[in-house]
Amino acid sequence: MALLQISEPGKATLPHEHRRAVGIDLGTTNSLIASVISSQATVIENSYNEKIIPSVVNYSKKSSLVGTSAKENQIIDPKNTVSSVKRLVGKNMDDINPASFSLTLKNYENTIGIETIQGLKTPVEVSSEILKYLKNLAEGRLGGELMGAVITVPAYFDDAQRQATKDAAKLAGLNVLRLINEPTAAAVAYGLEQEIEGNFVIYDLGGGTFDVSVLRLSKGLFEVLSTHGNAQLGGDDYDQILAEWLVKDDLNNNEPQVKESLLKIARNVKESLTNKDLVHVDEEITSTIRIQKKIDRTQFSQLTKSLTEKTLTSVKQALRDAEIDAGDIDGIVMVGGSTRMPSVQKSVQEFFNQPLLNNLNPDEVVAIGAAIQANMLAGNANDDILLLDVIPLSLGIETIGEIVERIIPRNSTLPIAMAQEFTTYKDGQTAMIIHVVQGERDLVKDCRSLGKFTLKGIPPMVAGAAKIRVTFQVDTDGLMSVTAKELSTSVESSIEVKPSYGLSEDQIKLMLESSYTSAEEDKESRALAEAKTDASQLVEMTNNALNSDKALLTPNEKKLIEEDLDLLNKSLVTNDRVLIHQLTEKLNSTSGVLASKRMDQSIKKALSGKNINSLEL
């Protein structure tokens, strides 16, 4: 129980209070799910003893397969097998080069439609299939429903990609405790394993994305100083270059089956070169196409040099943003299967002039870190560790001349809020549109459009008289929200968001509802059960809070809370969902003052401890 732990640190949870929380590494090529079981972070295996689940979904007319069985169908049924969907998440057709994907992609509302035998599937839907599979796997192993999950995303994912990941989780029926950045998750796994302090670089090269983060670890505080990367650069690109080299002197064939076979061969060659110095290829792709070539480590290194150089450019930038020299780094952690490539390891080691840290399994370290974090967020463990992450890309708004005005600079510690004042340009103007973009470029067209916010309800005034303060808030998941207030009248504007990418709330709701068959769920009774659960949790927490801290309240404040608490408690025996919901909201609102006072008290307590120590020095 989070409230209790503030006032009584160190109290461990009793077995029956342990919440089932998981960490999910939703990777481009592979996914993993892990949980803290008997105090040990463990990756959960499926019935085939696989820890690593290929991020592949194969659709047939009435069902779908996820994982190795789906991957095996890729050669024979490439049109209905979706892999590397992470490359499409949070994007629309303008952002990608359809030719580089072997699937048929179409424009679909604000997102991308992938053609399958079941019709058009959005990247969010495909991702949710993978998440559903992982969820079922974990629930089976852990013996019951999951309370929540921490899902990892590349540090360099923008707002749209993060939102899409959260939408996929919602569709899969997962409660997202937090989205955390992959390098930060790896740092958690290493930091706790080794209990180290200092400046660390996390170099994370996955199947489709590259991130580099610079972190400072000290006394349980994991502070990200800077992050950089490329959400379109990963092991897959090394495969692509190699595949192109393999057919260079042969026929140019664009059939999806041939492409897939080539990529598979290239991947195998790449992986073999990790253990062997020279690889011979002798493969028949079709009856007319046969590849006979040999390649050694040096050749591969030369072929892919430009990709590795790109990663080092990001590393340099991250160090500069963190204002730390390569020489002041205490350790470099290699994360992601692609860091097994000898050419990559050599380049990074040479850059930092020190041996690399890779004693934890690079495939599992992100999921392990996420599981540790999930365990803490669920309230199962002592809160000795805190992650302070940053926003990877600047947020700005469009101003006159289609120029970007930066509101929140990149690498700002989260959570963060910045306010900007606007005014009207016409007499009596009651609305305005704010276009928010993300990126480092100066022109709007070179940045990613996140969405258009329409502010309504501005009190009509003379042009230029209205002072509208718009506050941009970015939360700990890296997601942005906007509020606006007209300062002279204190009128809060209502805000309508039109996201530039992805599905709207209504679309997601529709998808969720259609996934419940009438045999599975009675919608109304499910909604009632949820309302009662929310209400009883609030009753319990409010009771606990009153028991420990009622002294902080004035007699009137206490009376109001107790009255609303009593009303809510009484409503729990009825089946009136609407009433229960209303009374829950009311108690939430009334008990706000108690939550606020407890928070201020925590701050004072945190500092008073320090004061006593410094006096003793």
Binding site: M1, A2, L3, Q5, I6, R19, M147, G148, L177, R178, S218, K219, G220, L221, K316, R320, M376, L377, A378, G379, D383, D384, L386, L387, L388, S412, T413, L414, P415, I416, A417, Q473, D475, T476, Q537, L538, M541, N588, S589, S591, G592, A595, S596, M599, D600, S602, I603, K605, A606, L607, G609, K610, N611, S614
Partner: protein, 167 residues
């Protein structure tokens, strides 16, 4: 939060701040109020935590940085608009900017950078005395204006050194 930034961290209201204590206290506070501590709590507590944690971040970033801290300290005590900078000072800035534009090699750049760094240090000491000893807000504002110019110049110099070393 009704506390000012110094009060949040229980530090004396001065320009000279013990950055180590600031960082330690920042860590202690965030460990108890950060949204991660409320991931399993009610929505309202999560909202409060988000707002407070954001405010603490803002306070920390302000007090951590010399320029922002000086600006904040002046604002706590003095509400007037700053007076203009001296033309001597502005001329010197222009000369230095022109000099920087002419530099194409690393060695002269290093010499130039050391000179600017020294000026930044001198100006910072001057600002510190005006704020902490003299409580002279009007002159401190001017000194802060000069320090901003010098810091910008130092940033441009550092950027050029990166460009030169990359090529």
């Amino acid at each position: 939060m009704s506390l000012n930034y110094y009060e949040i961290f229980n530090l004396p209201v001065e320009f000279n701040v013990d950055l180590k204590s600031l960082h330690e206290r920042y860590g202690e506070i965030q460990k108890s109020i950060h949204p991660d501590r409320f991931a399993a709590a009610t929505k309202l507590e999560q909202q409060h935590s988000l707002v407070k944690s954001t405010q603490v971040n803002e306070a920390y970033q302000t007090l951590k940085n010399n320029l922002l801290r000086a600006k904040y300290l002046i604002e706590l005590n003095y509400k007037n608009d700053p007076l203009p900078l001296s033309s001597d000072f502005l001329m010197q800035q222009m000369e230095w900017e022109e000099e920087l534009e002419e530099i194409k090699e690393i060695e002269p750049l290093i010499v130039f950078k050391e000179n600017i760094k020294m000026n930044v240090q001198k100006e910072t000491l001057k600002l510190s005395k005006l704020l902490d000893q003299d409580r002279n807000w009007e002159d401190a504002q001017i000194s802060l204006g000069e320090l901003k110019f010098l810091s910008n110049l130092l940033t441009k110099t550092t950027e050029l050194s990166h460009t030169l070393s990359d090529n």
